[in-house]
Point group: C2
Chain length 408, copies 2
């Protein structure tokens, strides 16, 4: 099976910036076929601070279990990421594999085990041959580099069914006093609550973990938790946020924090958008704005009900103004709805206003609009003041091909 | 777009039986193209008893609103069913269309309006031109017939994207003292809580509504509410159950009730199975047995989480023993799970027992088994005594074709 580049892939990614005090190395260890790179080590010169969000799956992978057990200490010295095997549901053997890898890394890097994070993505239930990984540790350590190219290579090595690597970088305040870099992967099984996606975000800004945490969770909710490809939820997802300590630590002044969060949200938004744009088989990027809901929960639920509806997603693939399927998806949610208060727009074209249809005049314009590969849909529930935005993609034959032909 | 007969269509449907005291007529009124039949009138000689279950959609069709308003009286003299237009989200015009149709039927049949039920299926949000229907009422009334062929024709006339008509009949106890006939439609948007499906069940058995109702709801839950094609929920679904009064009413003796319910469940099960087997693009019929859950709610939720997972459904389309996707789907549910207690079988082949993998010996047998067009999957949660079974179909390129190319 050969997967072509997503038609929604960005023309060009923004250049990443180097961050002092952090380096990375990339290699292949044989978990992916054809000598493809599948192993990434990222090392911090001094222990940094870490915050994380993990999948809510009841059958999480070993890396999730491990990371959750050590994140309470809040310190990080390294992360090892492999693709090609998720190390999920391998019983006690899976746990042992992970512990062996962590022990080796701890000894060779000379850092405590509870500062070593692990991430794995790939097939579920396939024993992880940790020897393949352990054999490469000396090489990884000896080839650690702090350059721009390593970020790009790392983003490529963590891909599974992704068709393009996902990186983004922000540099701001006084000639780039602060830098934030992010790499991510994800293309199928992207759904509410952190589905098959990994995202690693690094900054030279120093933060107090407790104050920062709630803001970070809030941004995760608005970005990575508001995208969906197929409604499936993975066993391996995580978003980790690293504060890297360098020779001269970048402390934030009170006024700078606000600016920092704007850039951070922008970066996380961009990575989330890339994940949707690489949605398996996606031919259209769809933004769904829910306005005027009775509660935040209602707004989210309606947005996700539309975004996860196969009938809505196939209508979008066919550029069909089948707004009835949006009504169906709104109707099946548990949210408060009054059909006579519903308003709906495709782009700037009003379809419904307070339950009344108003689109016959410009049907051909709507048809033309829906042929774009970026579509915006706005639903006003008309019952309150709560808004939410969800991003998704359409459902094409290619999605089925990718997932039918994928061999476990 | 031409849709071929589902490869899962039954070779032959069981012959329907006539029921004394009920007749039907079928015609085309122009809601479907190419003079296809799209209108069915079913008339009871004397007012019968009726029980119903309706979609939980918050944006239901006018027929749902109407039927719910009159079912409390429990009497039925006729039902008019149209395909080609769902009469959903047409505002006050939609309500008026329905009321005009009911008034005309009431006058011409000379029965009270609150004994006239209506069902519509087809496009959402398209104004229903009731004149097309009203014009055909005299013809429908004059051509009412009580014969076997009418049942088959009616089942065909209520089809939308269905590829075969769905009927079933049971005749039992002392040379067919009791008869139950059922007709149904449904192929896409079949999901938890009564999604795009109509089912009408008729019997000559007499029942006390209050006693019967709870048993009927229980059977609906085990049959029509336990099937899913794509997780979408329709605005128009209903299951109606009619008790027809004839010259000699068939009263049930206490011991006969039990037998009656066995046959009723069998009939509803068969119709539900036909709906899944006509799932849009389906190439495989999949039975998912959940055993040993901690509660009934858990058992249902796990079953539906697997059955609605696009990744599981595409794996089945590819005959791929990707059991990791089942683990993922179990993990994303809200049910109680302990990975070390999970057992899983494909057919008779054990994949996992108490979290341990046990399948390497007969991998080629499993591959062979998954090429069948009827697959049975059994998951034992190992935490309790609650079981549930869910039926679904696989997810193929054909599903996408049907729904992408369908023009609203």
């Amino acid at each position: 099976m050969s997967i072509k580049l997503s038609p929604l892939a960005p023309q060009k990614l923004k250049n990443v910036n180097c961050i002092e005090g952090i380096s990375a190395s990339i290699t292949h260890c044989g978990l992916k076929k054809n000598n493809k790179e599948d192993l990434v080590l990222i090392k911090l010169d001094k222990p940094g601070e870490i915050i994380g969000v993990f999948t809510r799956s009841k059958t999480p992978g070993e890396p999730i279990i491990w990371n959750k057990s050590i994140i309470k200490f809040g310190k990080v010295s390294a992360i090892l990421i492999n693709s090609g095997n998720a190390n999920v549901f391998n019983g006690s053997a899976g746990k042992l594999s992970l512990l062996n890898i962590v022990r080796e890394l701890s000894e060779q890097l000379n850092v405590p085990k509870n500062e070593i994070f692990v991430a794995s993505t790939g097939v579920i239930g396939e024993p992880l041959d940790e020897k393949k990984i352990i054999k490469k540790i000396p090489f990884l350590i000896s080839s650690l580099k702090n350059d721009k190219d390593s970020w790009n290579k790392a983003a490529r090595a963590i891909m599974t069914t992704d068709t393009f690597p996902k990186t983004h970088s922000e540099k701001f305040l006084g000639e780039g006093k602060f830098v934030i870099n992010g790499i991510a992967k994800g293309s199928g099984m992207i759904a509410p609550n952190m589905a098959t996606m990994l995202a690693f975000i690094f900054t030279n800004a120093q933060f107090e973990r407790k104050i920062f945490e709630s803001k970070f969770f809030e941004i995760v909710d608005k970005t990575f938790n508001s995208i969906t490809v197929d409604g499936d939820t993975s066993t391996s997802d995580m978003v980790l946020f690293f504060s890297v300590k360098s020779g001269i630590q970048k402390k934030m002044k009170p006024g700078e924090k606000k600016i920092f969060f704007v850039y951070l949200e922008n970066l996380m938004n961009q990575l989330a958008e890339y994940i949707v744009k690489d949605g398996e088989g996606a031919s259209k990027f769809i933004k769904i704005n829910i306005k005027g809901a009775k509660s935040k929960i209602d707004a989210k639920e309606i947005g996700k009900s539309i975004a996860n509806s196969p009938l809505f997603k196939t209508a979008m693939a066919g550029s069909d103004a089948n707004w009835g399927r949006i009504i169906m998806a709104i109707g099946k949610s548990n949210a408060h709805i009054n059909p006579m208060r519903l308003s709906l727009k495709f782009g700037k074209f009003v379809i419904l206003r307070n339950g009344k249809k108003l689109f016959s005049r410009y049907l051909s314009d709507i048809d033309k609009y829906l042929k774009n590969n970026e579509i915006e849909i706005t639903v006003n529930i008309g019952l309150g003041n709560y808004n939410w935005t969800v991003w998704t993609c359409d459902y094409t034959k290619q999605y089925i091909s990718i997932n039918t032909d994928y061999r476990s």
